[in-house]
């Protein structure tokens, strides 16, 4: 096909206006690879992307950044799975002996690790309750802050970042998985118990105020009784 006709197809492809027949035609020309005008395709793709700069700029609402961060937070499991899959592809094949390792043993080890992790997480949550009852409501839960803003959460606290860092350091696999499981479990429990913790904290505060009021009332009554006598 002559170059002009290919360019005409390219223009329509870039604008997403190709019909099925022309699309198939263009794909086959690309696949043939004989002198396909890749540079011109790139030029038209760039030209197409230039068009929006002629528009008057508009700005999204400022809270959109937070909403985006929330969406990113919600897909952290998916990203972790992607990183794991990538890691698995890069990792060498395990030796045959490891494959024939009894399944029961693996399950026992996993269960023991899981119990250990769950215990740690529960202890942390309990400690968190004690800690937070003495602190103001604004400065305690890092995972909450991550959801609030991209930058509210430090990179170390970022589950994606943490996964990547662990990958770079290349520690033994069991340690990596345990840390990740701990982190994920901690995030999960924190995010799910956050509301209950806040309710608990506000109840404690209310009780304190109520006790104080009752104390003052009692004191006033005692003084009144003293004067009456």
């Amino acid at each position: 096909m002559e170059k002009k006709k290919i360019l005409d197809l390219i223009k329509l492809e870039v604008l997403r206006c190709l019909n099925d027949k022309d699309k198939a035609n263009l794909e086959s020309i690309k696949a043939e690879g004989n002198d396909f005008p890749w540079k011109e395709l790139g030029d038209y793709q760039n030209l197409s992307a230039l068009l929006p700069i002629s528009l008057e700029l508009k700005y999204p609402a400022s809270d959109m950044k937070d909403k985006t961060a929330m969406k990113l937070y919600n897909i952290r499991e998916l990203i972790k799975a992607k990183i794991d899959a990538k890691k698995a592809l890069e990792a060498p094949e395990p030796p045959v002996e490891e494959i024939s390792f009894p399944v029961e043993n693996i399950q026992e080890v996993e269960t023991a690790e899981q119990i250990e992790v769950e215990e740690k997480v529960l202890v942390e949550v309990e400690e968190g309750v004690q800690y937070s009852s003495n602190e103001s409501m604004n400065n305690k839960d890092d995972s909450y802050r991550f959801v609030g803003k991209f930058k509210g959460k430090s990179e170390v606290e970022n589950p994606f970042r943490k996964a990547v860092e662990i990958e770079t350091k290349e520690p033994p696999k069991a340690v990596v998985d345990k840390e990740l499981v701990e982190k994920i479990a901690r995030d999960y429990i924190k995010s799910h118990l956050e509301r209950e913790l806040e309710t608990l904290r506000s109840t404690i505060n209310k009780n304190k105020i109520l006790s104080f009021i009752l104390f003052v009332v009692s004191l006033l009554l005692i003084i009144a009784l003293f004067f009456i006598k």
């Binding site: 360019l7 005409d8 223009k11 329509l12 870039v14 604008l15 997403r16 206006c17 019909n19 890749w38 540079k39 395709l41 790139g42 030029d43 038209y44 793709q45 760039n46 030209l47 197409s48 992307a49 230039l50 068009l51 929006p52 700069i53 002629s54 528009l55 008057e56 700029l57 508009k58 700005y59 999204p60 609402a61 959109m64 950044k65 909403k67 985006t68 961060a69 969406k71 990113l72 897909i75 998916l78 990203i79 992607k82 990183i83 990538k86 991209f150 930058k151 959460k153 990179e155 970022n158 994606f160 970042r161 996964a163 990547v164």
Partner: protein, 191 residues
């Protein structure tokens, strides 16, 4: 639309590829106005445009491994991705028959496949071309501008444009090709 971040788009993108959330925030700060402007022009509703904008950055985060770090064309990749996503939402909204939206569909139809020989573009240099592009667009006839608009921002195919303008699809096809070709010529001349 200026930002004081000294990093280039490509440098930021490289950090995003390492799942650095701060880098993604920098990319958001730099690109959200132009992408939002484009998306809003396509879908018109503010809420819908904002939703698509945030989806675009989620797609960037999820599909960063699809970005070609050899050509490093961050600007065209992001703008094309945003346009594809906005048009996809628009088509689904008006009830067009579309395949299910899943990861494969996203990779095939939403994430751009840029030419391996594309010249890299960065937002800063692109914004300097605004005046030249406007001049080039003003050089097109009204009919050329109209078909280009319906196609680029309306997401319409040849048959839909033909139906709207009440002219044969073949005529629309040639009008679009001439309009886009002329625009390329004028932008190149302006350079």
């Amino acid at each position: 639309m200026t930002d004081n971040n000294p990093l280039t788009d490509a440098e930021i993108m490289l950090k995003v590829a390492g799942y650095d959330s701060k880098a993604l925030e920098q990319l958001y700060d730099r690109y959200s106005p132009i992408l939002y402007t484009l998306i809003k022009k396509i879908v018109t509703e503010k809420e819908s445009a904002e939703e698509i904008l945030s989806d675009v950055f989620v797609i960037v985060w999820r599909q960063i491994d699809q970005f070609d770090f050899k050509t490093n064309n961050v600007y065209t990749w992001l703008v094309t991705l945003s346009r594809n996503k906005a048009i996809d939402v628009l088509n689904r909204k008006v009830g067009k028959l579309m395949p299910d939206y899943d990861d494969d569909y996203e990779k095939e139809h939403i994430v751009p496949k840029l030419s391996p020989e594309i010249q890299a573009l960065e937002l800063k240099e692109v914004m300097n071309k605004k005046e030249k592009l406007e001049k080039a667009l003003n050089g097109l006839t009204d009919a050329q501008k109209y078909v280009l608009d319906l196609s680029y921002y309306g997401g319409m195919d040849l048959t839909e444009i033909a139906g709207k303008m009440n002219i044969p699809a073949g005529t629309v096809k040639s009008k679009l090709q001439v309009a886009f070709g002329n625009l390329m010529q004028k932008v190149s001349e302006a350079n």
